[in-house]
Structures are given as structure tokens and as C-alpha cells.
């Protein structure tokens, strides 16, 4: 078991207080940055560290920052995406509740790199404890000079405001999140322009996930060599995995990327709740599932992409022998249908239709051709919806049919024999 970084103090009841954080090396990374780095050097370091975003898409963080134009006179904004809502995912909540200063310090470093003076921390409204603890962390950081005017006499200034979400999964999509901060309905916008060029209030904006930002203090305190020594070379660093569903030991685990899905479920998840595993979802419900005979797949960005799925939010959901895959497919599809913002037709209508078919199959009223119809709908949604919500929905549903077609057929067959 390797050293814990992000979860080092997670069981300390005082971990959320700034005194505890400082004693553990907290704000040393920020001191180093402000003393030894100019903003461009921070960006270059993050680029060469190969830190990839932990929110779902896995985009290289330093590269994202480098897209912010240097010559644009408008204010720059940093927005932290803490609108965690991908089913199975709870890592950011635990970081914010238990050790929020990692995030605050990371936000100050990121803001320094891109030249931002006002940052917004967008936390979903249900996370009341996260909101309280992050606000307390912001207040403590202000009192000790890590936030506000002229931070540690560096000339760099930053204010962080919490913007509370109000119950909309789609606001985790970065352009929808920015619309929401602007006081509008959370509906995605066409890209380009990307937020780095024209984001919040049409100003250059960087949107980063909680865990991504929480990695930064450690990277700058302990250096690139240390950071690169954790996990795979092309995408290293500390990583959190949330295990839930049919596992004996659900919880948040910090593990090096590159471990096999099977080892994660058996060794850390403690095995299947009932009998054996039938399948598992590797990265939140948008990520296509793997049947148990494919559990050798390595849990990192590249390996999962090559295997036709994704690391996503690294939310691993175990499904054991008692799980009915058509029921799982119905529940996932109902979720996406409910959370579809309604802006584009493939997602709005396609998912409504798919959910209806899945409910009918589950109720024993499936018809011959229903599975083909579902596959047709997946093809009509994937790559044709406005944002990643529709793509994820179709991708996840498609995998349930690909690997477990026989379970759908078994529910439909009796009906067709009667008629």
C-alpha cells in the first residue's frame, strides 16, 4: 500500500482546521510557488507533470491553463467544479468536508498561474456540510493571509466565493456551470469558443475539478519527480477511487492508477456482496460497464479508453450475481432522461423513448425488436447530442446490451411466446 496523499488526514477530526493543515505541510506549496515561480513557470510545471483532470474528461490541466490568452485585457476567472453528481461519485464531497484546505490552496495556486483575482467555487446545493467547511476554510485562509489582498506579500490577490448549485446534474458540464453562475438555467453552450477564451461573463475562464486542484499543493511542495513516481508515467499523481454498489467495503480509496479493476474490487472493495461479481462500472454511470471476464483492465485513463470505456470520475460500482442488467440499464437511462436539460432533441427525446422501452421490458411487456430499437436509439444519440450527457447515456446503455444481450432477451422471450 503506497503512501496516502490526498487522504492522509482524512480520519483526523480536526483535519478541516487550518492549524492541522499547516502542521501537515499545508500552504507550503503555495509559499514555494509565490517565492520561486512566475505564473508561466507554474503553468509549465503543471504541463510537464502530466496532471490530468480528475472531473471526468481527463484533460491535461496545464494545457487547459495555457489556452488562456495572455493579451486579453478582460478579467480572468477560475471556477472550481464541485457540482459532483455522476452517480457513484462522492470523492469531492469527502475532500471538501474533511480536508478542504487542500482545495483552497490549490485554487490560490491555479489563480496565480492564470492571473485570476476572483474565483468561484460551485458546490452542489445538497452538499451542506461541504459548503460550511469550505466557507470556514476560506475564512481561515483569509485571516492568515493566504487569501485576500497581496497574499503573503506577493502582490497576488484572490477572493473565492462559493456559488451554491440547486439540484441539476447538467451543471457539472463546464459551460452549463458557467451559465448557472451567471444566473441562468444550466444549459450547455456551443464550443468553441472554449471557456479559456470566452467563459464566465465572456471572460477567459478555467474550470477545474476539486480533486485536480487538491493535487496542486502536493505537486509544488514535494516536486515533480515525486509526483511522477505515483502511478503511470503518462498520467501520474495521487488518485481517488470511490467504491460502491455490490461491494463488501464501499468507501473512498486512494490508489495508484494502473491497478486492475478486479484487484480493486476484490482486494479493496472486499469482494462481492452476494456470490460473485457479474460486472462493474469503472468511472461513474456514464462509463460503459465491463463484464467480470474483462476485469483485468487497468484503471487508468489510457487503458480504460483503449478498452472502450473511461476512467471518468473513477467511481467504481460493483454489480454482483443478484443484479439484473436490464434493471440497471433502466435506472441509469431514467437518470440521464431526468437530468437532460432539454436543449437538444437526440438527448431529450431519445432518452425519453429509451426509458419507456426499458420500463416495458422490465415489466415483462417487452416486444420483439425492442433491443434493436434501443441499439438504434443509442446510435441516434451518441455523437449527435449537444453535450457529453447524451453521449454518456447512449454509451453506457449500449454496453449493457453489448455484454448482456441475453438478459434482455430472457425478459422479452416469454411475452413473445404468449403472443
Amino acid at each position: 500500500m503506497s503512501e496516502l496523499v490526498l487522504l492522509k488526514n482524512i480520519d483526523n477530526p480536526d483535519a478541516s482546521r487550518i492549524e492541522t493543515y499547516e502542521k501537515s505541510g499545508g500552504y507550503q506549496g503555495l509559499r514555494t510557488v509565490l517565492r520561486d515561480y512566475d505564473p508561466d513557470q507554474v503553468i509549465e510545471t503543471v504541463k510537464s507533470s502530466n496532471l490530468r483532470g480528475r472531473g471526468g474528461a481527463g484533460f491535461p490541466t496545464g494545457l487547459k491553463w495555457s489556452f488562456v490568452p495572455k493579451d486579453n485585457p478582460l478579467p480572468r476567472y477560475l471556477c472550481c467544479n464541485a457540482d459532483e453528481g455522476e452517480p457513484g461519485t462522492f470523492k469531492d464531497r469527502i475532500l471538501m468536508e474533511r480536508d478542504p484546505h487542500q482545495l483552497i490552496e490549490g485554487m490560490v495556486i491555479a489563480a496565480y498561474a492564470i492571473g485570476c483575482k476572483t474565483a468561484y467555487l460551485y458546490i452542489r446545493g445538497e452538499y451542506s456540510v461541504s459548503i460550511e467547511h469550505c466557507q470556514q476554510a476560506i475564512d481561515e485562509a483569509h485571516a492568515l493571509g493566504y487569501l485576500g489582498q497581496n497574499i503573503l506579500n506577493s502582490g497576488h490577490s484572490l477572493d473565492i466565493h462559493i456559488h451554491k448549485g440547486a439540484g441539476a446534474y447538467i451543471c457539472g458540464e463546464e459551460t452549463a456551470l458557467l451559465e448557472s453562475i451567471e444566473g441562468k438555467r444550466g444549459q450547455p453552450k456551443l464550443k468553441p469558443p472554449f471557456p479559456a477564451v470566452a467563459g464566465l461573463y465572456e471572460c477567459p475562464t478555467v474550470v477545474n475539478n476539486v480533486e485536480t486542484l487538491a493535487c496542486l499543493p502536493h505537486l509544488f511542495r514535494r516536486g515533480e519527480d515525486w509526483f511522477s513516481s505515483i502511478g503511470p508515467k503518462d498520467a501520474p499523481g495521487p488518485k481517488l477511487f470511490g467504491l460502491s454498489g455490490h461491494v463488501r467495503k464501499p468507501g473512498l480509496y486512494e490508489l495508484p492508477m494502473g491497478m486492475s479493476l478486479g484487484e480493486m474490487l476484490e482486494v479493496y472493495g472486499g469482494g462481492a456482496l452476494n456470490g460473485a461479481f457479474k460486472a462493474a462500472i469503472p468511472g461513474g454511470v456514464s462509463a460503459p460497464m465491463f463484464p467480470s471476464d474483462l476485469f483485468d483492465v487497468k484503471m487508468d485513463f489510457g487503458s480504460l479508453a483503449a478498452a472502450g470505456s473511461m476512467l471518468g470520475s473513477a467511481a467504481v460500482i460493483g454489480l454482483d450475481d443478484t443484479a439484473s442488467i436490464p434493471v440497471v440499464a433502466r435506472r441509469i437511462t431514467e437518470f440521464f432522461n431526468h437530468e437532460s436539460c432539454g436543449k437538444c432533441t437526440p438527448c431529450r427525446e431519445g432518452l425519453t423513448w429509451a426509458a419507456k422501452i426499458l420500463r416495458r421490458i422490465e415489466a415483462g411487456q417487452g416486444q420483439v425488436g425492442d433491443v434493436e430499437q434501443l441499439a438504434m436509439l443509442c446510435g441516434g444519440i451518441f455523437g449527435k447530442s449537444f453535450c457529453a450527457l447524451g453521449d454518456g447515456a447512449a454509451w453506457a446503455l449500449g454496453a449493457t446490451i453489448k455484454h448482456f444481450r441475453h438478459e434482455f432477451d430472457a425478459l422479452i422471450a416469454p411475452q413473445t411466446m404468449v403472443s
Binding site: P87, E126, A315
Partner: protein, 170 residues
Amino acid sequence: MSDARSLTDIKRDLATGVRQMRARYPTSRSAIMPALELAQQKYGQVEGLTYQAVSELLDVPEIWVFEVASFYSLFDRSQTGRHHLRLCTNLSCMLRGSDALMQHLQNRLAIKSGETTSDGAFTLTDVECLGACEMAPVLMVDARYHGDLTTDKLDVLLASLAGQPTKEAT
């Protein structure tokens, strides 16, 4: 109940808080969500007069306020019970028995999801992932999470919420 409150009352109640929220953003429109949240905290719901009050306090069109209130599911546009029970029924909770808990809650409270008990004590809603799958199945009671639930634990919780002594307590 809302009939008794005038537009002037609501504006007076919200003025200071809305002004503080407004100062966090470069535009008034951004303060609509926080303003509605303040209103909901104070009155338990948002409705017609609230939209008008927020619109006038922020000097934005009332339709902008309604657009926001009607999009986000945490804004209650009708009166809810004294306690709002939001049961997660998404995948990780479903795999750990949330369907049975929903059935149990509906039986115990004699309402369906989306309804409020006749005594005004409880509103029950099934919701999407609450982001606490490590303690599935999860119920959000007002602003707080309760995890690792069973029907027995639910009964204890309901009794304590209703202000009645629980079996364990007597």
C-alpha cells in the same frame, strides 16, 4: 400563509441578504440563485411574490427569476412539509435496497413520492444521486444526510423527527 405576506414585507426581509450576495458578482443576474435560496430558507418555498421581490431588489426582469426557479430542482415552488425527505434511488443506492426503503416510507407515511402528509409533517421525494454512495442507501432529511439505512433505522429516524419518543428511548 403566503397570502399574509406583502411584497413590501418580502423585500424588507430579503434586502440585506440579497445586497450581500449581489456584491459577490459583476452582474445582478448572478445573484438570482442565491437570492432565491435566501427566500426559500426564510419561507420554505419560492412563489409569485418572491419572484417579484427578487426581480425588484436586483433590478432584473421577473422572467429571469422564474426561469431559474423552475429549472433547478432544489427550489420548492409549492409548500412542503416541515421535514423534506429526499431518498436517493440512483444506482448505488438501488443496489443496496433503496426501492424497499421507498416502499416502506410510502407505507408508513401513507403518501406517494412527491406528496406531503395531510398533517404537513413530511414531504417525500425520490431524488437522483446525492453523492454519498459509500453510505448507500442514503436519505437526505432537510439539509442533512443519513446513510447506511435500513427499515428499522428509518422508523427510529421518523419517530425522532415527528417529535415522538422512539421505542429505543422509552
